[in-house]
Subunit: 462 residues, 2 copies
C-alpha cells in the first residue's frame, strides 16, 4: 500500500490535485462498470489533460511497474475499462481531454480528443451539415477514445460499417510512454504499415488512444421506416436480398424481431405493434439524399407482399410514427430485464446462416436446458443476433452460454459481434479462436507491451 | 549457387515439376516488374497450388534461411513484388491458387484464393447481381492476394473505400510457416485483436495472403456522368461540398483534371473535350439504385452554374457519351508518356488542402527547377493527386521529387496514397514518417518475422 500511495503522490505532484483521485467516494464511478458486473478497486484514478500528460503518466507507471487501465465513458459491456480488485491498478481516465479540435464539412472529417462524448461529436458534425454515423444506446456517455478502442458498432453498421471504417487518423500513447502521432486527415494513405488498425478494437491493451480523426458522411434528406411481419427468418433473408436489389446501399437498418420480443415489450412497456399477427418481424429503415426513396420502398414492399416473403406491414407516415416503430425495437432489452433473469449473447454468424443458426440453437437448448425461453432479436442485416435466453431458478446459465456459443462456432460465427472481449469473455475467446490466432495476438501484445502493464487481463488472459 | 540449386531441388521434390520454375526464359516475367523499373533475379519461382503447399514452401525456405518474395499479378507500381538482383530470393507466385470458393449474393460476400484475377472476381460478383467495387487499370491481371496485400485503391474509393474496407476475412501463411485461418464471413466481429488488418497493405512483408473473403455491394441501376469546367481548384472543392449535400453518398467519382492534362490528351490521343474553355475541369460520376438521380444531379449542376462555381458543363446523354468523357481522364497517363520524360507522384493531402498544395508546389518548382511543366490530375474527392512533372534534359528528377514530397509533408499528406512503398519509396518513407512510427513498424516486423525472410527490403529498409 505504501508503494501505491507513493505512486499517487508522484502522479499528483506531476498532474496537480485535479489530476489524481484517491478518495474512495470519488473513485467508485471509475471502479465499477455501469452494469455493476465487474466491481474493481483502483490504486487511484488519474485524469491527465493533454497527450503529453498521458505519456508522462504512462512513463511514471511503467517505471513503478504499475498496471494502467485506460477508461473513457465507462459504458462498455465486457468489463474492459475497469480495474481488477487488487487495488494496484491505476485507472487512466481520458475525460478531461474532451476537445473537438476541428470539423471540416468539405474534407468530411472531425478531429476530437479521446474524452469527447460521442453525442457532442455527433452534434458538432450535424451543425456542420454532416453526419458522424456512429450511433449507439450509450452515445450520451461513451467517448470517442472508448468508441475507437472498442471498435464500436451500433445501429448504422449495415450502411456505414463499424467504427474502424470511419477512423482516418489516430494518436496513441504507447506502453513505453512514447506518442505515436498518426492524426492524418487522409482518405488514402498507403505509406507503410497502417499501425493505427492495431489499436482500433484492442480495448486499451496495446496503447492509450488520445485523439482521433473520423470520417464524416453526407446527411440524408429523406428516410423511410417500415415494420413487416414475415413468415420466418428465411423469408426475412430473401426480403433483405430484395431490398438490396431495389434500394441499394441506402438501407440503414434491417432488424429482425421475434414474437417473443414484441410480447415482452407489450407486457412490460405497454407498446403494441401495429401488426397483430406473425411470429417474426422485420424493421427496415432506408435514408437517402435523393427523392424517390419512398416510391422505391413502396414498390419493393409491394413486390415482397406479392411474393409472400412479407405478410403484413406498415410504412411510417411521419417521423413520429417512425419513432413509434423504433420504440418497439428499443424497448426489447429493458422489457426482457423486467421479465426476469436472462443469459445474453452478442453473436454474429454469416448472414445466410442466421435461419439455420436459430433452428440449431433452439433445438440444442430445448434438448439440454428444457424450460428456457428464447428472446432473439438484432441486426439481421449484419448477421448480428442478440440471442438472449430467459431462464428460471435451477437453469444452468453457464450451460446455456456454452450451448449458444458452440452453435455459433459451428456456423463460423463470432462470440462477440460488437461488445468486445474485455474481461467478460477472456476465457471463452481461447476456446473459440484457434491457437494460431491466439498465439498471433500474444506476439503482438508482447511486441508492444513486453511488461504487460497496459490493461492486463483484458482480451488476453494475463 | 549450389545452395540455391539444392533448395530448388528440395522445393521441386515437394511441389513437383509444375511447381518450380528455374529456367531463365520462363523466369523473366516473374523477375521484373511490368514497368521494367526494378529488374531482379530470383533463385527460382515456386507455384504452390494450395495453402498447405504455401505453408510448406515457407517452412522449407525458412529452414534454408532463404528470403521469399510473394507475388500476385505483378502489376504493382512500387516494385514490391519482385526479387532483388542477388539471385538468392525465391519468388512465391500465387497464380495457381485462383479459385473462387463462394459467392453469396444475400450475405453479400465473395471468397476467393489469392491468385484469382480481380476481373474474374468482379465478373463472378456481377453474375450474382452484386458489385465487387475494387476497380483499377490493372484489374485484368491484378490478383485478389495482391490487391489485399497492397490495400489497392482505384476509381471507386470515394464511395466504397480502399480494399481494406472490403476485407471481411483473410487466410495468411505466417513467416514461421503456420497458417492463420481467419476466413470468416462476418460483418461484425469484435472477438479479439483484428490481426488481419496487419497483413492488409503490408505488401507481403509480414505474411503470405492465400485467400480472402470480400464484401459485395448492391449494383446501382442508374448513373450520371458530367464534365464541368471550374474557375479554379477552390471552386472545385466548393462544388464537391455541394455535390455531397445534394447527391449524398451516391457520388462514385470526383476527378480533377488540369488544362495541361487535356491538352496532352488532345495532342497525343486525339481526344477533344466537349468544353472549349477553362483551366480546370471536374469529372463527376454518381450512381444509385434509386430513380431521381439524374434530376438531382441536374438541379445540383444548375445551382453550381448559378453560384459560378462551375462555368460550363456537359452531362452524358448515354453510356457511350459517359465513356467518351471518361476516356479524356483515362488517356492522361499514356499521353503524358508520349510527351516525354516525367517525374510521377501519387500523393494525398487533406481534401481542403488541395488548392493550396497546388499553389505551393507550383511555386516551389518554378523557383527551384524552372522550365518544368506540371501535369496534375487525380481523385480530388479522395484528396489524391497524381502530381506529375514533365522534365527536359538537364532537369534534376531527384530534386523535383524532393520538392513535391516536401510540400506534401508540409500539408500533412502522404507520399503514397495508393501505390504503396515497395522498394521504390523505402528511403523516402524514413524521411517523411516520424521515428516513432518507423520504430513501431520495425517492432511489428520483428515480432512476426524475426529472421527477416519475408519480402526483405520492401516497405522497411533491410
Amino acid at each position: 500500500m505504501s508503494t501505491s500511495s507513493d505512486l499517487a503522490d508522484r502522479l499528483q505532484s506531476y498532474l496537480g490535485p485535479a489530476g489524481v483521485i484517491t478518495d474512495w467516494r470519488d473513485l467508485e464511478s471509475y471502479a465499477v462498470d455501469w452494469r455493476k458486473l465487474f466491481p474493481g478497486k483502483p490504486a487511484c484514478v488519474v485524469r491527465p489533460n493533454s497527450t503529453e500528460q498521458v505519456a508522462q503518466v504512462v512513463r511514471i507507471c511503467r517505471e513503478a511497474g504499475v498496471p494502467i487501465v485506460p477508461q473513457g465513458g465507462n459504458t462498455g459491456l465486457a468489463g474492459g475499462a475497469v480495474p481488477d480488485a487488487s487495488g494496484t491498478q491505476v485507472v487512466l481516465s481520458l475525460n478531461r481531454m474532451a476537445a473537438i479540435r476541428n470539423v471540416d464539412p468539405i474534407g468530411m472529417t472531425i478531429e476530437a480528443e479521446a474524452g469527447c462524448i460521442l453525442k457532442v461529436a455527433q452534434d458538432a458534425a450535424s451543425t456542420a451539415g454532416r453526419l458522424l454515423p456512429i450511433s449507439l444506446a450509450a452515445e450520451g456517455s461513451a467517448t470517442i477514445g472508448g468508441v475507437v478502442a472498442a471498435n464500436a458498432g451500433g445501429v448504422n453498421v449495415l450502411r456505414y460499417g463499424m467504427t474502424r471504417n470511419l477512423v482516418l487518423g489516430l494518436e496513441v500513447v504507447l506502453p513505453d510512454g512514447t506518442i505515436a502521432n498518426g492524426l492524418r486527415r487522409l482518405r488514402k494513405d498507403n505509406a507503410g504499415y497502417d499501425w493505427k488498425q492495431l489499436f482500433i478494437g484492442s480495448e486499451g491493451t496495446l496503447g492509450v488512444v488520445t485523439a482521433a480523426v473520423l470520417r464524416l458522411l453526407p446527411r440524408p434528406k429523406h428516410s423511410v421506416t417500415a415494420l413487416l411481419s414475415v413468415p420466418d427468418p428465411d423469408a426475412a433473408l430473401t426480403l433483405f436480398g430484395l431490398a438490396q436489389d431495389d434500394l441499394g446501399d441506402q438501407i440503414t437498418a434491417f432488424e429482425l424481431i421475434s414474437r417473443t420480443s414484441l410480447d415482452l415489450v407489450a407486457r412490460h412497456a405497454g407498446l403494441k405493434p401495429p401488426i397483430a399477427e406473425g411470429e417474426w418481424f422485420v424493421l427496415i429503415e432506408a435514408a437517402s439524399s435523393l427523392a424517390g426513396l419512398r416510391e422505391a420502398a413502396e414498390a419493393m414492399l409491394g413486390s415482397a407482399f406479392e411474393r409472400e416473403i412479407a405478410l403484413d406491414g406498415v410504412i411510417a407516415e411521419s417521423g413520429a410514427q417512425a419513432a413509434q416503430l423504433w420504440a418497439l425495437r428499443e424497448h426489447v432489452t429493458e422489457s426482457e430485464a423486467r421479465e426476469g433473469k436472462s443469459v445474453k449473447h452478442d453473436v454474429s454468424v454469416p448472414l445466410t446462416a442466421v435461419p439455420l443458426f436459430l433452428v440449431d440453437v433452439g433445438k440444442a437448448l430445448a434438448d439440454e436446458v428444457p424450460g428456457t425461453r428464447v428472446n432473439a432479436f438484432g441486426h439481421l442485416g449484419d448477421g448480428n443476433i442478440h440471442y438472449n435466453v430467459l431462464i428460471e431458478d435451477g437453469h444452468d446459465a453457464g450451460a446455456v452460454n456454452r450451448i449458444v456459443h458452440d452453435v455459433v462456432a459451428s456456423h463460423g460465427g463470432s462470440i462477440s459481434a460488437e461488445h468486445g472481449i474485455g474481461q467478460y469473455r477472456v476465457g471463452e475467446l481461447v476456446r473459440y479462436r484457434s491457437s494460431v490466432e491466439m498465439e498471433l495476438a500474444r506476439k503482438l501484445k508482447l511486441a508492444l507491451d513486453p511488461q504487460g502493464l497496459l490493461n492486463p487481463g483484458k482480451v488476453l488472459s494475463p
